[in-house]
Symmetry: C2
């Protein structure tokens, strides 16, 4: 890079590098908080993280930025630099759109709501929770209005755009509306068919050290680089750290062994994306993952397109036999059946591949209405119950704990994130469809355990691109078209039988 | 605290709180670097830590500080606030005495020297090491001159004063000169006597999970609070983290089991000091440990005054038998003999209680001469060899690896730290002597495993004081006198036989 001729851009580059390095310390401290920190350290840790966040916010809101961004736009930049500038500008527009006092108030109120939620949920205390959530919603609506005004978007779109740049709720509504038409019937058909199938259950217990060993072997086999990452345990699995040092987490229970393994494979998809972002641009926004849906497309590619592929169980089976001894349930066909078992349930994070999108459609519809002012907190239970009836045929009345109180997202102030899960599943199916064009024998490769072709495709088309292109262009370049939900439907119908 | 009437002090208070919180993130990231970080993460981590250090330095060097400190001195402050202001002022004087360019240059040069040292030491490459160390020394001398000018101290005293406020090299020289007179003869006597003793060696192997369990039990028994701390493994044991979340580390080898246990007990002393600093002042300099010698006095109290006490092996023995099965060497008297075995050796960190101070005396004499310009890097090997001959009767010629290249301190630019180890041992003996006045049956209590009296004394006199008083006043209040080396000599002669 020749920054000597581009002083405004060079200044921005250095600022982003500084922010990236401080973000590194935040990521590691947050990872430690979830994995290793003793409980007595929590208050001091939260205060420390908030202090650094304040410093970083001040840097991001530097009043000289408007001028520097304008000047940098006039400087000679190569394609990557121009893309980087676009991403810097995007972040800055959001930062300066919201008054600092509102950000601070929101941080306090969401933190209190989330904290209270942790004890309200087990008590099924909807009234207590709703009181707090009303406060959160009021502030998030304000924030969404500020952002919407600055970005020329509707309030909900302004929130969605943070996680999924360029995506609009009208598109999500169309995609999800389509899903609503065929998904419930498909679920019923599959349930009826699977009711007649013989599936052998897993027979535990499955000792945790052996589960950990199986997971580590699988993560390694899937190409995760342990010289630049770790696998640990946390209450809620996540992928944290930084691209140079990716921290995967998982969780174990000793009566089951597939959940931890599939969860770990899911996080490995996130992890390989992070580890393979464009290294020469690390520290700059252009080297960040493109969006949350694209991130989920990687974890769900690993979990659903690879691990739940009919050819993959052959590779899991010997690992499980070696770790836990032989049992009939470990036979590959049976393992595959276990991994593709469909059973409507109340809890999103326990849902199977086919019923999962129903949970997302429901949340999207409700949270969009909440942010756009078409619904209030008190309307949530009825909306929830109606959608669960329509989509999964389940009754949720009075069960707030396993209904609208089950997720951390809303109490934490995260609105606009939920759609990314199912958009990611759609993208993952689209990548697999595209792969079949350049790797016609990809199914045979997966059967044979030859995954280099698959990883090479992902590296070239997704990982190495970082945020070089807007999402639609990334999808176009990778698969010849923007998001096309037909691939997802075809995938589900092929796998679960139409 | 009524900060509303003390605006300058209140500003300083808030600044220190901010620095403490950022320091929290540095401590945890540094702990992670030494315990969990995969090797590929090192460059990014070092860059992140350096970035935050730069931000913190800028805050500490805020040009408005001179005026604020002067104003705060005029404000009504209680005793703790006044002590806090004294400590803030002390740190600021040091910060503003050294030009920022010199600090940055020193950071780069010491980092390079330390990095090169890691591969030069195994190769015994004195010439290569000396070339780098000359550069380090030149910069540290400059820094020491700047500090000395600002503080009215000799260059070496200016460095020593950082770790041991108020201590001067003339005092250290007197204390260590006295040691030099009686220590070599005592070592020879003890060696001759111990040569005739029967001591049963430990018979390994000692599986690491069992060692870890013994260490955890011991740490807990010694009162360390695992709700506010952890015990992990690192290459070089240390105590890190923050008072609210203290991170002890240790290391294990499977052919031995006492080294890890005693090392862990040593770190527990550091840890309990940190965990029991005055909680209502946490985040302010007045709540920091008084000095490095006082810190070492706590770790060495736990290791030498407690664990190596003749009555303590009774409490170790059953733990070891339970973990590794019975063996004759675990008999309490034999354990005590093993823990008090004297054998002059080349390596400081492997030295026993009696020969350890010889290593420190030698380093102090050499580093003082280096900083004061009375010796050069090329003189070190001859000075080292002469002192090792006089003090321990050992020949070190041509063995640089196990001579002046054995410690990380000088390549890392740490001059003025070494004396604290032996000053700490002296203070530890003084605390035990003082304890005998208020707890006349302290020996019987240790035999009985009743340690609450001991811990209560340390809590009241050392831990809870933080940096409330200058070191001499702390010692005076705790033991009725300032540092008096007679207690240390008496302790060694009593334990090892005069």
């Amino acid at each position: 890079m020749k920054n000597q001729h581009t002083p405004a851009y060079a200044w921005l580059h250095r600022q982003q590098e500084r922010l990236h390095r401080l973000d590194h310390l935040q990521s590691i401290a947050a990872w430690d908080q979830a994995t290793h920190m003793p409980p007595g350290g929590n208050d001091a840790r939260s205060a420390a993280l908030a202090e650094l966040a304040t410093l970083m916010h001040r840097d991001r809101a530097d009043p000289s930025l408007a001028q520097r961004l304008a000047a940098a736009r006039q400087e000679p930049l190569n394609d990557w630099q121009a893309a980087n500038l676009r991403e810097i500008e995007r972040a800055w527009q959001r930062t300066q759109a919201v008054p600092e006092a509102l950000v601070e108030r929101r941080t306090v109120v969401t933190s209190q709501c989330e904290h209270a939620w942790r004890s309200q949920r087990p008590r099924n205390d909807w009234a207590g929770f709703a009181a707090n959530l009303r406060e959160v919603l009021a502030l998030v609506r304000q924030e969404a209005h500020h952002l919407g005004d600055a970005l020329g978007l509707s309030p909900y779109d302004a929130l969605l755009d943070h996680y999924e740049p360029g995506m609009r709720s009208v598109d999500v509504a169309r995609l999800f509306g389509n899903l609503r038409q065929w998904l419930p019937a498909l679920i019923r058909q599959v349930q009826a068919r699977q009711a007649r199938e013989d599936v052998l259950p897993l027979v535990g217990p499955f000792p945790l050290p052996a589960q950990r060993s199986v997971c580590e072997q699988m993560v390694r086999w899937l190409g995760f680089d342990f010289a630049h990452g770790r696998l640990d345990v946390s209450t809620h699995p996540f992928t944290g750290g930084v691209p140079e040092d990716v921290r995967l987490t998982t969780r174990f229970r000793d009566d089951e062994c597939l959940q931890a393994l599939l969860g770990t494979i899911h996080e490995t998809g996130h992890g390989r994306y992070e580890q393979n972002l464009p290294r020469e641009w690390l520290g700059q926004p252009v080297a960040l993952a493109r969006s949350m849906a694209i991130h989920e497309s990687q974890s769900l590619f690993f979990e659903m397109q690879l691990a739940a592929h009919p050819g993959f169980a052959r590779h899991l089976s010997p690992l499980l036999v070696q770790a836990f001894g032989d049992q009939a349930a470990f036979e590959p066909d049976n393992l595959h059946k276990l991994m593709t078992r469909v059973a409507p349930g109340l809890i999103r994070v326990e849902a199977d591949e086919l019923t999962y999108p129903a949970h997302i459609v429901l949340r999207f519809e409700i949270e969009r209405a909440l942010i756009e002012g078409e619904a209030e907190v008190d309307d949530i239970p009825a909306l929830w119950d109606a959608a669960m009836h329509d989509l999964l045929g389940l009754d949720t009345r009075s069960n707030y704990r396993d209904g609208p109180m089950q997720d951390v997202h809303w109490p934490a102030g995260l609105f606009g994130y939920f759609p990314c899960y199912s958009l990611g599943a759609m993208y993952a199916a689209q990548w697999m469809a595209a792969m079949h064009h350049t790797l016609p024998d990809v199914d045979a490769q997966i059967h044979a355990g030859e995954l280099n072709g698959v990883f090479g495709w992902l590296r070239e088309h997704i990982w190495q691109a970082g945020s070089r292109w807007p999402t639609d262009e990334l999808a176009q370049r990778a698969s010849g078209e923007t998001l096309n939900p037909a691939h997802y439907r075809a995938h589900l119908e092929r796998r679960y039988g139409g």
